[in-house]
Amino acid sequence: MGMAAESQFHVLAVDDSLIDRKLIERLLKTSSYQVTTVDSGSKALEFLGLRENNDQSNPNTPSVSPNSNQEVDVNLVITDYCMPGMTGYDLLKKIKESSSLRNIPVVIMSSENVPSRISRCLEEGAEEFFLKPVRLSDLNRLRPHMMKTQKLKDQTQERDENLETPEIQQSQQSVVEQQQHHQQSLQQANNNKRKAMEEGLSLETDRTRPRYNGIATMV
């Protein structure tokens, strides 16, 4: 298994039934996804890094990007509808209400074909509604949702990188030079200083400007 060179999509599966967890795990692994299974909605939220009442559980996570919880990268949540405590619908709502998680596609599974239930879930933002037992062919419908989010993430990352690049590159370069070619850079720096001083002096040949002697350096 796991022949793909690229990193796999990670799916979080939520179901209180052990048999169904085993099944969905096998189905997802067969479809080459990385899988984590949990047995309740609250455990799912915990895994996603969302405590019930707070938006961010970890104060150390940087708050800049939307997908700031770097430790756990979940590309899709698939959850059973009927669960004790928090239902799949409740979980869906909590995910869609969270600023950090709302872009994660959510799929609902149910053994009962209740049209009002299905439309309620879709209206709340679920991407798909699968009737149980879930088949391998059903899982083919998952990939487009995950790829869409991946594209969104890449675009956001690209945009952020373009904004930050100039400064980062500069500071990175000067740091690298100093670390790798310490002596060389010292000499270079000295040469540059001299050069700068010379140029500075030559530039400031205008008599109205104050002249600097060797004290001032332009680096």
């Binding site: 039934s17 085993k22 096998r26 189905l27 067969t30 088949r135 391998l136």
Partner: protein, 157 residues
Amino acid sequence: MLGLGGDRLWADMNRLLAFLFHQGVLDEQFLQLQQLQDHSSPNFVSDVLSIYFHESERLLSNLRSLLMDREFWDYKKMGIHLNQLMGSSSSIGAKRLRNVCLAFRASVDHNNRPGCLRALEMLEHEYCYLKNKLHEYIQIEQQRALAAGVRYPAQNN
């Protein structure tokens, strides 16, 4: 010789499954389970069935306790147990058992005491039958695995 044994076992397995499909005991979901088993997960079917037996027996025992209570019948709890049993039965393709659960649930919904008692008996009987048949299946599967294991070294392909 072993090759013939392997073929015979394969035929036995298919005959058993065909029979169970014909009786409505199992449906195509069971085939889905089979398809999910491969070299990376060679015991998938028997693993899932073990969990199913364990869970079902627990639920049946709970149902019996609830029905044996002389005074108060917790219909709500019965409904919950039945839904769980229905769900897992459906997940492994145990069609007939699931249908017996449905009938049981109807009695629960109507607070039909004698109906519930009859349904429980039917459910226990059906479960017994299903478990025996599935054990037969697992046995054939194990024998096939053994036959295949011994056969490979002797083969050229």
